[in-house]
């Protein structure tokens, strides 16, 4: 079962539980003009659920292409089970050296560049919020969805696994945005918040973003984009202010 985010983008959400909190470890399925495209492949931890969900969503055909935001295991662990190691499925990996990232057969995308995959144009953006150097954000020119890999995440309560941002009473809670970024993007403790904000402004000015699709959070849609960004800004400022050098 998938959750519709935009007309041609579906969310295959999986959750990882720690101490009562849930963290999404998701992937997305795009229905492109010439075939289906998966953004990321999920964690081995959810392999059975993911392969079943993709199988159901594609009527047993599997994806035609897989695009990886980066090679971190929770994002790239199901390339082979989803057919990414066969000639039938095009595999596109983020920048750097696919062989050293364990993806020797992948077509390489360059940060700052664009590719047409299954008839859909994707741009690959230098991400201001990530946890690995090899990460790219992926912009889908079809529906205007920005896939933000490790940025724009949030923890959630167990009952909110399938919620889009506008399903929350007052959109994604600030505290959950803060907790996620504090725990997962540790370098934010050294950040000058205004530098990140400027880069985010540039990205949102350059691309017409209708929805943000994080791998580790609830998708952010419509008017909630502005609300989320305000809360993200506050969260980053708080993370930086809370750390002092010993």
């Amino acid at each position: 079962m998938t959750v519709q985010v935009t007309p041609s983008v579906e969310w295959i959400n999986q959750c990882y539980e720690h101490e009562g909190d849930h963290e999404h470890v998701s992937l997305y399925l795009l229905r492109a003009p010439e075939g289906t495209v998966l953004v990321d492949s999920g964690s081995f931890y959810h392999r059975e659920e993911i392969t079943a969900a993709v199988d159901e969503a594609t009527d047993g055909d599997g994806p035609d292409a897989i695009v990886l935001s980066h090679s971190d295991y929770p994002h790239a662990a199901n390339v082979s089970p989803l057919g990414g190691d066969t000639e039938d499925v095009e595999l596109v990996a983020s920048s750097a050296s696919p062989a050293q990232q364990g993806l020797p057969d992948a077509r390489k995308c360059d940060i700052g560049g664009s590719l047409t995959i299954e008839g859909r144009e994707f741009s690959f953006i230098d991400p201001p919020l990530a946890d690995r150097s090899h990460t790219t954000w992926i912009y889908d020119h079809g529906d205007g969805v920005l896939f933000t890999a490790d940025g724009f995440g949030n923890y959630h309560d167990p009952g909110r696994c399938d919620s889009l941002s506008d399903d929350f009473p007052e959109s994604t809670p600030t505290e959950r945005i803060y907790e996620y970024h504090r725990d997962n993007l540790v370098w934010l403790r050294y950040v000058a918040p205004e530098k990140v904000d400027r880069t985010l402004d540039d990205i949102f000015a350059s691309y017409d973003v209708n929805a943000v699709a994080p791998i580790h959070g609830n998708p952010i849609v419509g008017d909630d984009l502005d609300t989320y960004r305000e809360r993200l800004r506050d969260s980053i400022e708080r993370i930086a202010s809370e750390h002092s050098v010993a």
């Binding site: 964690s43 295991y73 050293q100 940060i111 990530a130 946890d131 370098w187 000058a192 530098k195 930086a240």
Partner: protein, 268 residues
């Protein structure tokens, strides 16, 4: 072939791809680069032989599975590998963990105690270490530390007490030229060019472009005071075995330079 840094402390090296073309080095001509040469950002693993027991810190990338297995065989032979420490579950650092553990079922996996996603990395069943935890290998003891400048939250740094070696993982990496493989920094020709450090941190540790310079450099001062190492053994650079704290001081210039010029580029 590994190189011995000090008795019982071995450097295992993987060059990775030639970066010359993708970084436009011939066109840009940064100060550290020489025309016509190839440039590399290595991956390094380190083996500590403490007499009684052996420990491997990181695994090289999946492109070098055969090489790391051969190096382990060469260095530990029939004695076996007692500990495999994964500094963080990034593919170039941990990509051969499974292969090593299959080849050496006697080995205890040691993983960072920091972060909260261990099951997603198959690190939940390892021994988890945090600040101050130690492993006594016989005539050598390693100690673990909370990683200061890092990417993955599941990360740990290590020191080796007898030699005073700091293993800062991704931090303090730098580029080198083709004939400088497995060369100690004090063996390089001429004065060390700190723009090598800028080239690495301005590309690989992408977040350097977003940091507060004063705060970051205060942290570097704190690291020098805390560790005061004799040797620095980075995962992505050459081993520094003389004047190690001077090179840590250089990192403050790196912070300032990247703040001024922004990200050098991507890893490519």
């Amino acid at each position: 072939m590994p190189r011995e840094i000090a008795p019982g402390l071995h450097w295992i090296y993987e060059a990775g791809p030639d970066r010359t073309e993708s970084w436009d080095l011939a066109d840009r001509e940064p100060e550290w680069y020489e025309e016509g040469r190839e440039a590399y950002v290595p991956q390094c693993a380190y083996l500590v032989d403490g007499g009684d027991e052996t420990l491997l810190f990181d695994t090289l990338s999946p492109a070098s599975t055969d090489e790391i297995l051969a190096a382990i065989d060469e260095l530990v032979g029939d004695r076996g590998l007692d500990y495999l420490v994964v500094s963080h579950p990034d593919v170039p650092h941990a990509g051969n963990a499974l292969a090593i553990l299959e080849e050496h079922p006697e080995t205890t996996l040691v993983a960072p105690g920091y972060g909260n996603d261990h099951e997603l990395y198959r690190l939940d069943y390892g021994v988890h270490v945090t600040e101050g935890d130690e492993i006594d290998l016989g005539n050598r003891t390693v100690e673990f530390h909370e990683a200061t400048f890092l990417d993955a939250p599941v990360s740990v740094w290590m020191t080796e007490r007898e030699t005073g070696t700091l293993f800062p993982v991704d931090w303090m990496g730098f580029t080198h030229l083709d004939d400088e493989r497995l060369v100690f920094v004090d063996e390089l020709d001429g004065e060390f060019d700190s723009s090598r450090l800028v080239e690495f941190h301005g590309r690989v540790l992408f977040w350097y472009q977003y940091v507060d310079v004063e705060k970051t450099n205060a942290e570097i001062d704190a690291l020098i005071e805390k560790f005061d190492p004799e040797i620095v053994a980075p995962a992505h650079g050459l081993v520094i075995r003389e004047d190690a704290t001077d090179y840590m001081e250089l990192m403050k210039d790196v912070t300032r330079t990247i703040d001024e010029q922004g990200r050098v580029g991507t890893l490519g």
